[in-house]
Symmetry: C2
């Protein structure tokens, strides 16, 4: 049986650290505030929003909701973003995507200030991840994977890490961040030939393939640590990851469960970015 790298303990530790920081900020007259900018009312967005609001409450971060109708025009959206950029009481902005198709999402992302981009959607944040310059913030899910590794004391230096998936929100940033921690990183994707022969060589496997239970026993080997970033609904209506859990459980050394793994940590990372952004306003 593999060790379970549960997200709850990671989130709790992060929250505790953030609560202390929020208290210190409030004492200095700064109330860390997340603005949530939502267009329309997609069920996915609402569900994530509930989680984020709850997490903010836990830690003492204020939330300001800005909701625009699903048929809002670009000008009004731009004006809302600029208003949040200029609002000194707002430290971070979470803008839900995808935006409705009639809107220019790229323009909207470009308008947001990287310093308030707590979800890593601006060019400034992407460049910050890529260069390690500290500009903006990494995508929350990617950083959640890193927080889990750090919380459980996994030293990445010199380790062979394999990332499955090359998306801009998980695969690419995780690969760069693992490299920054001195792992030797290989990124696999849909065009990779004989993927199991590559993933089996990994000390650490981060899977963000977006396909339910795609990683089965032939991909795995004993001693591995597996971070499963996937969240899928399988044929029986059950939440499952991108890794076949039973296969992994019988082979690898440690794995994040789904649900209860990476997804559990994401909103805590978001909130930690808001707190960090609020701290920077004091510098």
């Amino acid at each position: 049986m593999a060790d379970l790298l549960k997200g709850a303990a990671v989130a709790a530790a992060l929250n505790e650290k953030m609560s202390a920081k929020v208290a210190a900020l409030v004492e200095k007259g700064v109330a860390p505030t997340l603005a949530i900018l939502r267009v329309g009312a997609r069920e996915d967005d609402l569900s994530y929003e509930r989680g984020a609001v709850k997490r903010c409450e836990t830690v003492g971060v204020s939330v300001k909701s800005v909701v625009l109708p699903a048929d809002v025009g670009q000008d009004e959206l731009q004006a809302a973003i600029v208003a949040l950029n200029n609002d000194a009481s707002v430290h971070g902005v979470l803008m839900f995507r995808p935006l409705p198709k009639h809107l220019d999402e790229e323009l909207a992302c470009r308008t947001l200030l990287p310093a308030k981009d707590v979800d890593g959607i601006t060019s400034g944040s992407l460049a910050g991840v890529f260069s390690g310059s500290g500009e903006g913030y990494p995508p929350c899910t990617a950083q959640a994977a890193m927080e889990i590794l750090e919380h459980y004391g996994y030293d990445l230096k010199g380790k062979r890490a394999v990332v499955v998936g090359r998306s801009l929100v998980v695969g690419k940033p995780v690969g760069i961040m693992l490299m920054g921690k001195h792992a030797t990183v290989t990124t696999c994707h849909t065009r990779t030939v004989d993927m199991p022969s590559i993933t089996r060589e990994a000390d650490l496997l981060v899977v963000a393939a977006g396909v339910a239970s795609a990683v089965t026993k032939e991909y795995l080997s004993p001693g591995q640590v597996v971070i499963d970033v996937g969240i899928n609904v399988n044929a029986e209506g059950k939440l499952v990851g991108d890794v076949n859990f039973d296969d992994a459980d019988s082979i690898v050394s440690a794995i994040t469960p789904v649900p209860g793994g990476v997804g559990t940590v994401t909103t805590s990372v978001l909130v930690s970015h808001v707190v960090d952004a609020a701290e920077k306003t004091l510098k």
Copy 2:
């Protein structure tokens, strides 16, 4: 004996393509222009500048030189960058780095418009490489490596590529660009354990280690294509790459020579960025 992937043929093909584009632009009243912004007179900068100017002349791109004294203040430097940003007759800006230590290089880079950043130094360009969005331009040396592979018809899809080096100007962008061409990419660096066992598994090896002849026969295997990005002066005062050429020549299938490989293509890539930037002003 390995095939020699000479840079001259790649540069010549690029130059020919660019000459035709320049002629078409000039016919439309646009004279593609590179501004070279140099602070002081470092020998490295002067040498690269001579090459760039010559390459611009070959292709018909105009050059505007802006030279500031080595003890220039930040304000004056910023003003020079802003003036180039605002000068519609300038399509690309090459700013030599490192800047003298008393200057804030990060601020200077941040000031340059990504649309004119033909050498890939701004956040916009870095984010463009990372996301594949087409914003800005990739660092010229990294793209020169890619141009060589394309010129010689090397199909990257499904190939195992290993990049040695994780610098922001070569290793990281090359890794991301190879991934964009559907290679499975591993990035090795100084903390990698048993690097030869990893590099030997590569179909394609891109070496940007910055150490003369660091890659010797135990790193190599038959059939490999090797791109040597290194340029070093060895104990005998001779220019050598990061790969031991004699070792590689007797084992691998193809290799770029040093000198005469990647370095030969870099200024042609720079000029192609200027031409592209000029074309974009017509859109």
